[in-house]
Symmetry: C2
């Protein structure tokens, strides 16, 4: 690690949920781990080169959106109409500037559209056709439906629809689970060489969800929070429970008002989700560079670089 | 007040903002005060009759939506396309159950659609056409665009559009302000005879807003929060700043983690909005029955019944 890097931290996630080892083939697991390692390494390299936390979390989430096995951007899950409706948000810890989109159908990189909302509109959140229209006005890359819909997601949607069931992106179907049903929302948190924090989150939501359903991912304070005085947080899980817990902001609030340390704050915030019957996880970095990777589900796809500068990748509790 | 009523409290608001006494005619002011008094009195009567806080805040917000001078339901402001796009949310303090809709164009009572989302879907938030479709599926009353668009709002929209300016529902235009530009978001908070809390908020958003823009009103934790252990909160103001402050949840968090009393918590939370340059207000009731009606704008349309059972109505700081 260079001198420049001593403040730098990065953590990314590819969703939390029921990850059944028996059904996750070795080959598929290796693909997940390789993607997480590659994307976290690229983010780390950018941080060491002096990139801002904001730029790094956006770029990391773009990379995660491009990876088809994660449920965001290319490879997003499909709603009850068979369409991908995508949600994303980003927040800059320096200024609490924030941008988000929900139920967008065209942006190739929903996270970059969220950033454009933050930087080039008076608004924080644009939804539906209005979000797509803004992508067009800003000249951001847009893609046709076929770009987002992978063969695996189409098959997953057909299974879910035939069962009349809404499934979390990362949860097994009761019948016929496959590893591809279990990948999830993506996100990134970073601290840059100047000590600034940022967070970004992106998702396709829940398989077979009702059109227009919006979860916690694009909601500032639910799925995403960043503030230099406390922490940066990106959440993943059953969004309805996270919204009813204001999860990401709860981590901040526990630290600032309750003097919790980061790990206590994350455990407490997830406890509020669990009280309601919800499960999932979050990644967080605090102002002092601590990293928390917390989940109450069976696993969470994640990678991070801590103070020692070493890249780590894990899916289950221990590894 | 009956014995049943000693726990009961109600507060409602019709928006906060720049309210220029000079341009608010006596006749118009009397209309506002009469509507606030009538709606708060009806809510109070329901509470004394044993209605739940949840039922009472929904009914009060329906009444506020029906009043054309407030910016919600009938009389909502118009977006840049000249359409009313409406946002609403409701939360039950007993269970933290919540429901919300955003950018809906057809529900006669957006708040009742939000409640239907809470009670009859697996979701918390539905947006756009998906929200309208859910209204239809549930058989809730829907209205054509002409129902929502009053002559005053159409004129207000044309003024804003001609100036190329987005205006807060309740803020004066720089040129040609009129009292009708200054009415706002509506909301209600209540404590019922069993000590349960609930909150509800509804709005048409900002005049000439970008289609698909969503503010704090439908976001659980930003515009609305209710939890029996702490407080019920309904916010009104420049939504983008409220979202970046997780305002409603911040009031809860300050009370629970920071041991602030309700008034300290509301002042602190609004202080976070002011730090960013935002203005607005909120109404809140805590678990012990304290009522806060806080704003950092020139005024807030409001009415409430406190422990003494007396109905009060105010617009400006003092009255």
């Amino acid at each position: 690690m260079t001198n420049l890097g001593w403040l730098c931290r990065i953590a990314i996630h590819g969703g939390a949920g029921v990850i059944d080892r028996a059904s996750l083939t070795a080959e598929r697991e290796a693909q997940f781990r390789a993607a997480l390692a590659r994307i976290a390494q690229a983010a780390w390299t950018r941080l060491l080169a002096g990139a801002s936390a904001l730029d790094v979390v956006e770029a990391a989430v773009r990379d995660l959106e491009d990876f088809p096995l994660f449920n965001a951007g290319h490879g997003a899950v499909l709603n009850a109409d068979g369409s991908a409706e995508m949600d994303a948000s980003i927040m800059d810890g320096r200024t609490r500037a924030a941008g988000a989109v929900a139920a967008a159908q065209t942006p190739t990189h929903p996270i970059s559209l969220a950033r454009a909302v933050m930087e080039h509109s008076e608004h924080v959140l644009l939804v539906g056709a209005g979000a797509d229209r803004f992508a067009q006005e800003r000249g951001l890359p847009q893609s046709p439906p076929a770009y987002f819909i992978t063969d695996e997601r189409a098959a997953q949607h057909m299974r879910a629809a035939s069962l009349g069931r809404i499934t979390l992106d990362h949860d097994a179907l009761y019948n016929g689970p496959s590893a591809s049903d279990k990948t999830g929302t993506v996100g990134a948190v970073a601290r840059d060489a100047h000590g600034h924090l940022a967070a970004a989150t992106s998702t396709g939501g829940m398989t077979n969800k009702r059109p227009g359903r919006v979860g916690d991912t694009p909601l500032i304070g639910a799925g995403t929070w960043a503030e230099d005085q406390s922490c940066a947080v990106s959440a993943t899980g059953h969004g309805e429970f996270f919204m009813r817990s204001a999860l990401a902001y709860d981590v901040h609030a526990r630290m600032v008002y309750g003097n919790h340390d980061l790990h206590e704050a994350c455990a407490g915030a997830l406890g509020r989700v669990a009280e309601l019957g919800g499960s999932g996880g979050l990644i967080a970095i605090d102002k002092d560079g601590h990293i928390a990777l917390s989940f109450n589900s069976e696993g969470m796809y994640r990678a991070w670089v801590d103070a020692d500068g070493l890249l780590r990748v894990a899916i289950y509790t221990e590894s």
